[in-house]
């Protein structure tokens, strides 16, 4: 065929691809070092290990995206050797590849995590505290992109994920380099490949210049779980992973509830002194959504779209998903419908839409996920939507819930096409939520976008408690939207307020004209949900004004200014009912006379929210927070703890203390900057 010839001929013309000499040498040197480690004495390995302790610390703090990969690989290669050394310490035979431990996770040939399924005692010398989720067994796991060779025939089938399946079927794969005995588990924190959208904090705004602030309401809570997970791994989280509004919104607040469903939420505002700045005040806006009673709960039609790729078989991922879904089942009504579609591993329909009362069948399907019992088919997200449509309930909640550790290969390769599909389905009434699992592979930026387009929530599930919170305790909120495309617009009164700063919501800022434009999407509010927003405002006349008045323009009242300073601001909220197309408006003035004079008298919920906001800003290393200490934050939170039925607030206070300790031990650890690159260990 001429085309074939033309194409082939063209390809031949391509200049040959020559590897860089230095890269080649380095690669081969490292490989030889690995070879020597494998075949040389164990003692050598131990010395190496000791020398690597320091590099581990350094690598831990590195964010891969910030710097050149090569040195990372040098370090990581070194770590890998260290890990191998430790293995050799315990193995009796060099070439015995039979998996010895119960907890050896099977390599699928798709993902390479090398993670150990069961957490256990950690090697204290590396300064890693025990944590609920099993950490990765090798630092190499997430940074190296190597999979084990696939044996040709069973590429479609998978060997059992859990190591307690017959060891025989595992023989086809070489074990990951770190094979751990039960008694000796090396936990090397892996350099993170988590991806977060970088964003600077909202800048201070001058009211005279920019009196109007507009943003989309956000009830995602993924950032809080992620921050918690980081702290539990003894690391301060990367700045970009901390979204202050998500930390604040993680907690349920007892704001005043709306009277009825007609106006599905109620907004309350208060103004009180800023805990971290004597000269400014906080404007607190709290919104509470209508609660849905068990009896009035609408019918649920849910499709779970589950990532079953190799990397999902860690204990803190797919098994957690399975447990979470089982928990969720308990809260659904017998007539609700559930279906399960899998992708990226065994792809296909694991469970056709089934009524919840058919519990046995659903449980069987959930348990069978591990064994890859899905029918063939690689449509992923399209299958999921199709199943949701099959049982579409126009009066109920129709939702696809995507659970993944970062693999969004759901059958559509183009990101834009994927977004468009999600938007389209959202308009036809099928929403999408995203549940993120695991660390190091977590693609947060995309998760946010998809959830936003799907009018759903993005949550990060780091442990079973969180799973319970998202899928059970807050099931109504997570599943039942009561308002969509919710936007907030605040207009500040230049006579009363000189400057303002919106805390958080950096990724949710809208243009002023977007507020009234119904075509512009915004966030959802679920049943019973609360949404909190905080502005730090500098009242006119305060000595803390940061920006000087203009020299050449006199400080006169803008033409048409209403009255004098009896209102700080005017809050407007626009929303649509879940099936609505046209938005509705709620407004609320914020009166100066209602200002609360001392912090102690501020409402408890608002005080707690400001403590969380302070924490988030401190983690983001913001200058506005000044010297406000972790201790002060903990104290403020403690005073506003309230009933704390589920213990979320106590847990928060613990995290604040933990953050303080971590920050003390490693000064400057909070800042992600490339560490000096150590020499790779020299092997003799």
């Amino acid at each position: 065929m001429t085309d074939h010839d033309e194409i082939a001929a063209l390809l031949k013309k391509m200049p040959p691809v020559e590897p860089d000499k230095e890269a080649r040498h380095q690669a081969i040197d490292l490989a030889m070092a690995a070879f020597d480690q494998k075949f040389s004495s164990r003692r050598q390995g131990m010395h190496l290990l000791a020398r690597l302790t320091d590099t581990i610390r350094i690598v831990r703090n590195a964010s891969i995206g910030d710097w050149n990969m090569k040195p990372v690989y040098a370090i990581v290669g070194g770590l890998c050797l260290g890990a191998i050394g430790l293995t050799l310490m315990n193995s009796t035979a060099l070439f015995d590849f039979a998996p010895r431990t119960q907890a050896l996770k099977a390599e699928r040939g798709i993902g390479m995590d090398g993670a150990v399924a069961k957490p256990s005692r950690q090697v204290a010398q590396f300064g890693v505290a025990p944590s609920p989720a099993p950490a990765m067994a090798t630092a190499n796991s997430e940074t190296s992109a190597i999979a084990l060779p696939q044996v040709a025939a069973p590429a479609a089938k998978r060997a059992a994920p859990m190591a307690d399946m017959a060891a025989g079927s595992m023989q086809a794969y070489a074990p990951p380099p770190v094979m751990m005995e039960e008694s000796n588990r090396l936990v090397l924190p892996q350099a993170d490949q988590d991806k977060f959208k970088a964003s600077d904090s909202n800048p201070l705004k001058i009211v005279k210049a920019e009196p109007v602030s507009t943003f989309s309401v956000d009830v995602d809570t993924a950032s809080y779980s992620f921050v918690r997970s980081s702290l539990n791994h003894n690391q301060l989280p990367p700045k970009d992973a901390v979204r202050v509004e998500e930390l604040v919104n993680y907690f349920p607040y007892h704001y005043e509830a709306p009277a009825d469903r007609e106006v599905p939420f109620k907004a309350t505002t208060s103004v009180f002194p800023t805990p971290w700045n004597k000269g400014t005040k906080l404007l607190h806006v709290g919104i509470k959504g209508y609660e849905i009673g068990q009896k009035t709960k609408p019918h649920s039609n849910l499709v779970f779209l589950l990532d079953t790729s190799g990397s999902m078989y860690d204990a803190n991922k797919l098994p957690l998903v399975q447990s979470s879904l089982k928990l969720l089942l308990e809260t659904l009504s017998p007539d609700d419908t559930i279906a399960i579609v899998t992708y990226a591993g065994s792809s296909g329909i694991a469970l056709e839409p089934t009524k919840v009362k058919d519990k046995a069948k659903i449980l069987a399907a959930l348990d069978g996920l591990a064994a890859g019992g899905a029918t063939a088919g690689a449509e992923g997200i399209q299958s999921a939507y199709r199943l949701a449509e099959q049982h579409f309930d126009k009066d109920g909640v129709n939702r696809v819930i995507l659970a993944t550790d970062g693999d969004f290969n759901v059958g559509i390769t183009d990101e834009d096409a994927l977004k468009r599909l999600i938007e389209k389905k959202c308009e036809s009434g099928i929403f999408l939520s995203v549940l993120g699992f695991g660390r190091g592979n977590y693609n947060d930026a995309l998760m946010q976008v998809l959830a936003q387009n799907g009018n759903g929530n993005a949550s990060y599930i780091d442990n079973l408690n969180e799973a319970r919170k998202v899928l059970v305790d807050e099931a109504s909120a997570t599943l039942f939207p009561i308002a969509k495309d919710v936007k907030i617009q605040v207009e500040f009164n230049p006579s009363a307020v000189a400057e303002y700063r919106l805390i958080g919501y950096e990724t949710r800022i809208l243009n002023r004209e977007d507020f009234n434009n119904d075509k512009v999407d915004a966030g959802d509010i679920g049943a019973g949900h609360t949404v909190t927003a905080l502005y730090e405002i500098t009242p006119v006349g305060s000595s803390s004004t940061l920006v000087d008045d203009l020299r050449y323009q006199t400080a006169e009242k803008p033409a048409g200014a209403k009255g004098d300073a009896d209102e700080y601001a005017f809050v407007k909220i626009r929303y649509k009912l879940p099936q609505g197309r046209v938005s509705r408006l709620i407004t609320q003035p914020v009166k100066v006379k209602d200002t609360i004079v001392s912090l102690d008298q501020a409402p408890q919920e608002a005080r707690f929210a400001s403590a969380v906001a302070a924490f988030g800003q401190k983690l983001r290393d913001e200058s506005y927070i000044g010297d406000f200490s972790y201790d002060a934050i903990a104290a403020l939170a403690n005073q506003a703890k309230g009933e704390d039925t589920f213990g979320y607030r106590s847990e928060f206070i613990q995290l604040v203390r933990l953050a303080k300790t971590i920050a003390m031990i490693e000064p400057g650890q909070g800042k992600i900057q490339p560490p000096p690159i150590p020499e790779p260990p020299v092997i003799r």
Binding site: I7, A145, I146, Q193, S309, G406, F408
Partner: protein, 180 residues
């Protein structure tokens, strides 16, 4: 070459340092080249090639000799590339990737090079499965059977993909010729 490889592998797996080095020297070029063609990024390709090298000693034990060593190694590299793409999170559009290649193509002003760059852009925008197939069959000039072995699918699947591929590429080349 295959025979020699098999012997080297056996020796290397048994601890023969020299044999192992020779294996690496002989195949590094291929590892890099395949990774480079797959990802379109020199840096990524070097990282992947280095990773494969470092991990190779542990995988040798799993090489059964049922296929040739090169086929087996192709598979290792392709999987490593797939993993990197996956760990990057999604299906990024490979804008950066073929920019590099295009730069290569623009070094020479001859029309042929531009056409090649155009073609590569087309290949890179293909669906991953087609792209992988193109890489192995067209660029590496492997047989359908061997490509199938590496990619873990049926030979007929490869043939089908090549057919679909050619149709798409034909359109692309057509648009190239039609450009103003």
């Amino acid at each position: 070459m295959t025979q020699e490889d098999t012997i080297l592998v056996r020796r290397a797996a048994g601890g023969d340092r020299e044999a192992y080095r020779r294996l690496l020297e002989a195949h590094y070029g291929m590892m890099f080249r395949v990774a480079y063609r797959y990802t379109g990024h020199r840096q990524d390709a070097e990282d992947i090639a280095q990773d494969v090298c470092v991990r190779l000693v542990h995988k040798l034990g799993s090489f059964r000799g049922t296929s040739s060593f090169t086929t087996w190694l192709y598979r290792v590299v392709v999987n490593a590339c797939r993993d990197m793409q996956k760990h990057r999170g999604v299906i990024k559009r490979s804008e950066d990737s073929f920019r590099e290649l295009e730069a290569l193509g623009q070094e020479e002003q001859r029309d042929g090079q531009r056409q090649v760059a155009w073609l590569y852009r087309a290949i890179y925008s293909l669906e991953p499965s087609l792209k992988e197939t193109a890489l192995l069959v067209l660029a590496e000039e492997l047989s359908h059977a061997e490509a199938a072995d590496i990619l873990g699918c049926k030979e007929s699947t490869v043939s089908w993909r090549m057919h679909a591929l050619r149709k798409q590429l034909k359109e692309v080349m057509g648009s190239y010729h039609d450009r103003p």
